[in-house]
């Protein structure tokens, strides 16, 4: 979790995290080249290969030759063993690169030698060095043969262990990316472009300060499912209709299947950025458009940032994942579950303040981020909530507006910022303090800490109930509490469902009136906006019960995927054109 607050306080200089994009093997190098071509901010590109010649042509700023002595500059020849050995030989060099707890993106094409062999080791070393690892893997074409596919899958399994998030791109889907008549090279570069866009979007999302920040934890949530297929869409547009157009473009992305796949997603990150001219109204339209394509109760992790460089443009990034396999209810699942809820509450919190300060993006960040962090730091809530109401408002505005945003905000909305500040202090007192303590250390590993925090949030609400003025806070707390409460119950999802609905109804209605009461003057626009946001929130709050529904859905899928093969269960499958021919045709085609 990268929070501007923490940076503002601790080390104003370190406002971005070191991002390292590592391309392994030929396919990885292609992605890097594409990325360099399109420009990527603040990321170091590192190419690793066994093949010296391929390394020579790479544009990466750092190059690592794997297995100098082993392959003597030749490629791994499609042998993952060799690739792994080569990586082992160059272990020290790889380790040196991982210094400094960066975010590491590992890009490789699976099925060959270098990529398949070295990628797991690289991911492992990165993880050992404390990096946050996101793996983008390209699966081989099915016509490359079963053996390569098996190699690729073996690699995937080990990568799954070492990566915080794993995204695979199936080469077979490459055909969807381009028109049939377009050349092979166009298809390949389109595929590379998708991966590079994904990486870039993730980097920007994490590095740029947002008005409504999307953090790594949100990313984890969105990509949480195992063996997921990443849904990624990016759209940019300018002009009168820019909001709609940007969404339309984002949805056109082949990985989204024209938005159809989004229907299956449980959660999605929707990041909106725009230049100075971006109005809240536009954001609202845009989000409306996006939510149309999502499940009614999908969880939306909403992010908003202002970026001068975009100028007239508005850009939308949609990241989500659809599990191709059953989601295993492991420990990790539980943890991410808590995150989900935290994020959900964050959204809810964010929207509530939005109501109060209608057109101001600036005001939003303050409330929501605090809430987002709350779940992690219940302790701090107890201690600081009461006394420190004053300091927070100050803190909030500064970081938000800080370098980029401040100008923007002031230019556009001079009168409002003040108004915004006033309302904030009241609801925020609590949120702000928790932020600070939490964010400082746990940043990447906050997920693990979530369970520890569970007991405390329950206590906090009781204590604070007495204070009338802090009713709103309670609401916030309630929202916050839920997530931690849930994880224990999560294994039995039915239990989960029961507790959630009860507490939520209360928090939602409350914040709205509170906001309204405080700031009657807001213009007419805010009102619809608030409703809008509420509408968005509602689904998000309901997102918790969903898991059950979704899991049921997945259970439905499982038999389809692995139908009985009867007497052929134990024999080698006959797979032609991706169909398991041992399964009755009758069942497959019906």
């Amino acid at each position: 979790m990268l929070e501007y607050r923490r940076e503002a306080k601790d080390s104003p200089g370190a406002d971005s995290v070191a991002v390292k994009v590592i391309g392994i093997g030929g396919a990885g190098a292609n992605v890097l080249d594409r990325m360099a071509l399109e420009g990527i901010e603040g990321a170091e590109l590192i190419s690793m290969n066994t093949d010296v010649r391929a390394l020579g042509t790479s544009v990466a700023n750092t190059k690592v030759q794997l297995g100098k002595a082993l392959t003597q500059g030749l490629a791994a020849g499609g042998d993952p063993e060799l690739g792994a050995q080569a990586a082992e030989e160059s272990q020290a060099e790889i380790r040196a690169i991982m210094q400094g707890n960066p975010i590491v993106f590992v890009c490789a094409g699976l099925g060959g030698g270098t990529g398949s062999g070295a990628a797991p080791l690289v991911a492992k070393i990165a993880r050992e060095e404390g990096a946050f690892v996101v793996s983008f893997m390209t699966m081989p074409f099915s016509f490359e043969g079963r053996r390569r596919l098996e190699q690729a899958e073996a690699t995937l399994r080990s990568l799954e262990v070492y990566s915080n998030a794993l995204v695979t791109f199936d080469n077979d889907r490459m055909g969807d990316l381009v028109l049939p008549k377009e050349g092979v090279s166009a298809a390949f570069s389109a595929a590379d472009q998708i991966i590079s866009q994904s990486v870039r979007a993730v980097c920007n999302m994490v590095n740029q300060r947002g008005l409504v920040q999307v953090g790594l934890d949100d990313l984890l949530t969105a990509l949480k499912s195992h063996e997921s297929r990443c849904l990624f869409g990016y759209g940019q547009a300018k002009g009168d209709n820019r909001a709609q157009e940007a969404v339309a473009r984002a949805l056109k992305s082949p990985l989204l299947d024209k938005g159809a796949l989004l229907k299956n997603a449980k959660n999605a990150i929707v990041q909106v950025s725009g230049g100075e001219g971006l109005t809240l109204y536009e954001v609202e339209i845009l989000m409306k458009e996006v939510t149309k394509h999502l499940q009614e109760n999908a969880q939306i992790l909403f992010g908003l940032s202002a970026d001068e460089k975009l100028g007239e443009n508005v850009s939308v990034t949609i990241i989500s994942s659809v599990s191709e396999n059953e989601v295993k209810p492991e420990g990790k699942g539980g943890e991410t579950g808590t995150k989900e809820k935290a994020a959900a509450t964050a959204v809810a919190a964010a929207t509530a303040p939005l109501v109060s300060t209608p057109e101001e993006p600036v005001t939003e960040p303050a409330p929501e981020e605090p809430t987002a962090k709350k779940p992690d730091a219940p302790l701090s809530v107890e201690e600081e909530a009461g006394p420190e109401t004053a300091p927070e408002p100050e803190v909030a505005p500064e970081p938000v507006a800080a370098p980029v945003d401040e100008d923007v905000a002031e230019l556009e909305l001079d009168p409002e910022p003040e108004i915004a500040l006033e309302p904030e202090p009241e609801p925020e007192p609590e949120p702000a303090p928790p932020l600070e303590p939490v964010t400082e250390e746990p940043a990447p590993e906050s997920v693990e800490e979530a369970p520890a925090l569970e007991p405390e949030p329950e206590v906090t609400p009781e204590e604070e109930t007495d204070v009338v003025s802090e009713l709103e806070e309670l609401m916030m707390d309630d929202a916050v509490e839920e997530p931690p409460l849930v994880p224990p119950a999560e294994r039995t999802e039915t239990d989960e469902v029961v507790p959630d609905p009860a507490p939520k109804p209360e928090p939602e209605p409350a914040p709205i009136p509170a906001a309204a009461a405080k700031i009657p003057p807001p213009r007419k626009k805010p009102a619809p906006a608030s409703e809008e946001t509420v509408a968005v929130e509602l689904p998000s709050t309901e997102a918790e019960p969903d898991p059950t529904g979704e899991e049921a859905h997945q259970e439905e899928l499982i038999p389809k995927r692995k139908p009985s093969r009867g007497r052929f269960d134990k024999s080698e499958p006959t797979i032609i054109d991706g169909e398991d021919l041992d399964v009755p045709t009758f069942l497959r085609k019906k």
Binding site: G566, R567, F568, E572, T574, L581, P584, T585, F586, L587
Partner: protein, 402 residues
């Protein structure tokens, strides 16, 4: 190798292991002396998965064959199948030296070497390399035997069948441990075609589809020469299995249902018709909807045919098929299968069994036996083809010994 003119064909099939003993008479006619058969266990999709079981069955078949034919069997021709079998065509070309115009046997050997020298996957091994045609000085002159002809350029078209070495070795080893000597290994489809097709069919162009228990083998002849061959790992077993899964009945019942009531075509008369199953005690059991049963069979067979059609169609060879489709193998006894094939290939279809054999063969005019019978036929052809070559069959197996 001291060879009699008695040949034994052995097929280790998915449903049965079958050994056919045949005697080639002086005039080339084949007389079947005896057939030994045993139900097969430990074989899936044409490949041995359980050695011990398969060997027990094989032994049983051997004893029966020896008993019936009154011949002591030492050598067999072994049929090989499995979805790993692939084929391709290759052409080799040599230019004859300027001062020499007449094509000699050395030239022929040289061009053969070149034509056979094609890259196949490393783990694969050549199963057959069968000459299709020779060309002398250009495309238009298809020649069967160019020796003695005049020309400056000699080309040879070869059809090459290859499969995964270890899998073929496994089958051979299983037979050797009986112990029996394997004289040659033959792709099942090629063997079947030898008895299913006559010369006329081959030259008019024909497709043989041998639907066995575990696999469906197909070979395509055009213009008298083998042009395509291949194997799909789907057979009658799959149909039984499908029925068993869809109807939720045991495999043994499914098999019975398939044989007694199955049809590859969906008949209107099936609408609403129910088949009553008897349980072990001959009480009435579950009722099976005949329409659904045939739908299951129909869809499976349709898929197999469509797959083969797609494969063959790739070479746009279908237009050259004059004689049509010949269905053989145990599953070709399925009712309506010919109509289904006709619908998909749009070619005349006939169910075919063994021709041109005498003796007890009449008892075996059953498509199930076309592969082992074909092996005997193949052995005869092989013998006629290379009587001179000292290298013969002993050298043949060398390629499988690594």
């Amino acid at each position: 190798m001291a060879k009699s003119n008695i040949y034994v064909g052995l097929e280790i099939g998915t449903s049965k292991i079958c050994m056919v003993v045949g005697e080639v008479k002086g005039d080339g006619a084949i007389k079947i002396l005896g057939v030994g058969q045993a139900p097969s266990r430990g074989v899936r999709k044409g490949e041995i998965v359980d050695y011990d079981n398969a060997q027990t069955c094989l032994h049983e078949a051997l004893v029966r064959a020896e008993d019936r034919s009154d011949v002591i069997i030492n050598n067999v021709f072994l049929a090989i199948t499995g979805s790993h079998i692939e084929s391709l065509n290759n052409r080799g070309t040599i230019t004859l030296a300027g001062d020499q115009n007449e094509i000699t046997e050395e030239d022929l050997e040289e061009v053969k070497e070149i034509a056979r020298d094609v890259p196949i996957p490393q783990q694969n091994v050549f199963l057959h390399s069968i000459i299709r045609h020779y060309f002398v000085d250009g495309q238009d002159n298809k020649v069967q035997n160019p020796i003695g002809m005049l020309g400056t350029k000699l080309e040879a078209d070869y059809h090459i069948v290859h499969g995964i070495r270890t899998r073929i070795q496994n089958a051979i080893r299983c037979v050797r441990e009986i112990p029996l000597e394997v004289e040659d290994v033959v792709f099942s489809g090629v063997a079947s075609a030898q008895v299913v097709l006559n010369k006329d069919d081959k030259s008019r162009g024909a497709i043989v589809v041998d639907i066995g228990g575990g696999t469906t083998d197909y070979v395509v002849y055009d213009d008298g020469a083998l042009s395509q061959s291949g194997c799909v790992g789907i057979g009658g077993d799959h149909i039984t299995n499908d029925i068993s899964i869809v109807m939720k009945i045991p495999l043994s019942k499914a098999e019975k249902l398939k044989v007694e009531h199955g049809s590859a075509m969906i008949r209107e008369s099936d609408e609403g018709k129910a088949i009553k199953l008897e349980d072990d005690m001959h009480f009435e059991g579950k009722e099976i909807d005949a329409h659904m049963l045939n739908q299951v069979i129909h869809m499976r067979l349709r898929e197999v045919f469509e797959f083969i059609h797609k494969k063959i169609g790739k070479g746009s060879e279908l237009a050259k098929i004059g004689a049509g489709i010949f269905l053989t193998g145990g599953s070709s006894k399925m009712e309506g299968i010919d109509k289904l094939a006709e619908e998909i290939f749009e070619l005349p279809v006939q169910r075919s069994s063994i021709r041109s054999m005498s003796g007890t063969a009449s008892a075996f005019e059953n498509p199930q036996y076309s592969t082992p019978m074909g092996l005997v036929r193949y052995a005869q052809i092989l013998d006629n083809d290379k009587p001179v070559k000292g290298k013969g069959i002993v050298g043949f197996l060398k390629r499988f010994k690594k």
